[in-house]
């Protein structure tokens, strides 16, 4: 399951296993290079009346780091993933219920958040919840000399002037979420956006491949 050289884009090798956890409705473990994330999806669930919503399912996203005290950056990741999932899930089909997405970091060698988004998407696919579209996250870094590096390694991130991450939907390849760090020019942003958009194809292909192999087992 390794997505290799495609046009001139290259993403880190991806490896995925679905149904990793027996108690969750959907779960996936995804390795993108050396970064590994485990995600589980439960839902639709019966939840407290106070947190129920008439219009759509209440989405709860929990991100848990590998160790140490919980901190603010974990909460930031949660909000990014929640917003992304919110657009992807057809929550209106499950009013008055709750959907819980739990994400566990296993290894972080850069690109943790993109890996978490992709892993969450696979877990959602696995859980069988209805979705508007799937999403794919791709990150890139701008190094000191102004070159764009797709899917940077840990060292590249440390030395980068800026990092940019984009999440695209599968239908029109429109931008769903974007988050950046560091300083960059508008041109660099646009270029990064286009390159990541092109590279997102690889991720979608990978999704297809994963789902296809699992379909075969069922069929």
């Amino acid at each position: 399951m390794v997505a290799e050289d495609f046009k001139d884009f290259k993403l880190k090798p991806m490896k995925c296993e679905l149904n990793y956890l027996s108690k969750s409705d959907g779960s996936a473990i995804l390795a993108q290079g050396e970064t590994v994330v485990l995600a589980s999806v439960n839902g639709p669930l019966d939840i407290k009346i106070t947190s129920q919503s008439m219009e759509k399912a209440t989405l709860e996203v929990l991100f848990s780091a590998k160790g140490g005290k919980p901190n603010v950056s974990d909460r930031f990741k949660e909000s990014v993933i929640r917003q992304t999932c919110e657009t992807a899930i057809l929550g209106c089909l499950y009013p008055r219920t709750g959907i819980t997405v739990t994400i566990q970091e296993l290894e972080d060698f850069g690109g943790l958040l993109t890996c978490a988004v992709n892993c969450t998407c696979l877990a959602l696919l696995n859980s069988g919840l209805s979705m508007k579209h799937v999403v794919a996250a791709v990150g890139c870094a701008l190094d000191d000399s102004g070159n764009l590096v797709l899917e940077p390694t840990y060292d590249q991130i440390q030395s980068a002037a800026a990092t940019m991450h984009f999440v695209f939907d599968s239908r029109a390849k429109t931008l769903v979420t974007g988050f950046t760090t560091g300083i960059f020019s508008e041109g660099a942003y646009d270029e990064a956006l286009e390159r990541c958009r092109a590279a997102s194809d690889l991720v979608f292909d990978f999704y297809r491949e994963v789902v296809a192999t699992y379909c075969k087992v069922i069929g």
Partner: protein
């Protein structure tokens, strides 16, 4: 979400087959599920799975000021986190009785039994000591959390290495792992918690699964000898260092002795497995092999459905000459009676899985969901 109540028929079924000497997954009373220990790229990071129960443990360290009453001892802090990932009934960031109990058991097993040399964690008396923090995250709850969590904690502690420090005058320099070889934690003994489910007055099940735990905890009818869970902490020197009983009262003291006796054997074997895993991991690291959790992802073994084990295991491996007498294991066997399509292949001891004859690479599971 509230925990799903266990139905009466499930309860009586499980009780009956256990009284008859069987278990749902085909194990014998004293048999444990398959134990696997995987290490991550960091020191002190490990994932332990006991059957389908999965626990992640991570040790981290920082330099802090020691407590006033123990100025020359390091600090160890154990934190258990049961998120909704473990099972949907758990709520996030909430201290339930379950969490507290699990946390306290681990604290008692590793802090109070003095298994860690805390004095070696001291850097400057009354000023600086290492504080070890063990984060135990429950990933999947298929019963016997405490045993799995305790093995994970112990493995993480034994695997953990803290950075070396040197003192130059008043200054303390902490060396990065690249500069100086890190130092492993000194463990005086290796205690592990082993769980026994008590059924009736004298049946002890080791390593109970989720349903067995649930069934033995909810037998409260008057007259019947209620069941309970007995946790025994045992180290490799056959010294019990923790006991905990939940559920109904034990009527016979002998059952405790029986459990301790069995735990002393099992404890040693678990510790052996653990030590072996750590040694092999160490040698791999010495050879500069990169170890990463990505290794546990298998691409060849695919499950189309969530249930990995066939919930009822087969004792006879050939589906064609299935023994019609085994009437206790009925329900799901209906499909097995039509033998043509599948091969029954032994995998783990006392476990079998069904393989589709035509397609070699794919696995298929027996489960009620297949009917649709």
């Amino acid at each position: 979400m509230k925990e799903t109540q266990i139905s009466n028929s499930e309860k009586t079924f499980v009780q009956k087959i256990i009284a008859g000497g069987h278990r749902l997954d085909g194990r014998i009373y004293s048999e444990t599920r398959n134990l696997q220990i995987a290490f991550g790229s960091d020191y002190g990071s490990c994932m332990v799975s006991l059957g389908e129960t999965k626990v992640l443990a991570q040790v981290s360290c920082e330099v802090v000021q020691p407590k006033q009453i123990r100025p020359n001892e390091g600090i160890i802090f154990i934190n258990v986190d049961i998120s909704p990932m473990a099972a949907p009934q758990f709520e996030a960031n909430r201290q339930t009785d379950h969490t507290v109990n699990l946390n306290r058991l681990l604290e008692k097993c590793y802090k109070d039994s003095k298994c860690i040399d805390l004095e070696s964690l001291c850097i400057v008396v009354e000023e600086k000591v290492w504080s070890l923090r063990v984060d135990v995250k429950i990933l999947n709850h298929e019963g016997n959390l405490i045993e799995c969590a305790s093995i994970a904690t112990l493995a993480a502690l034994a695997h953990f290495k803290r950075p070396d420090v040197t003192r130059v005058g008043d200054k303390v320099i902490i060396h990065s792992i690249a500069e100086k070889d890190p130092i492993p934690t000194v463990l005086y003994h290796y205690p592990v918690c082993l769980t026994y489910a008590i059924f009736g007055s004298d049946i002890l099940l080791s390593d109970p699964s989720y349903i067995e735990e649930a069934v033995c905890m909810c037998t409260f009818e008057e007259g019947s000898a209620g069941g309970g869970l007995l946790v025994v902490g045992m180290n490799q020197y056959k010294e019990p260092c923790l006991l905990d009983l939940t559920g109904a009262a034990i009527h016979n003291v002998n059952i405790v002795h029986k459990a301790i006796l069995s735990a002393s054997e099992k404890g040693k074997s678990v510790v052996d497995v653990l030590k072996k895993a750590i040694i092999s991991d160490d040698t791999l690291r010495l050879k500069r092999v990169k170890i990463n959790y990505a290794d546990i992802i298998t691409t060849e073994h695919k499950q189309s459905l969530i249930k990995k084990d066939i919930s009822i295991c087969l004792k006879n491996y050939n589906a064609n000459d299935i023994n019609p007498e085994s009437d206790v294991e009925m329900d799901d066997d209906v499909q097995i009676v039509e033998p043509s399509k599948y091969d029954v292949v032994p995998t783990l001891p006392k476990t079998a899985e069904l393989k589709v004859k035509a397609e070699k690479s794919a696995w298929i599971e027996i489960s009620s969901e297949e009917d649709d």
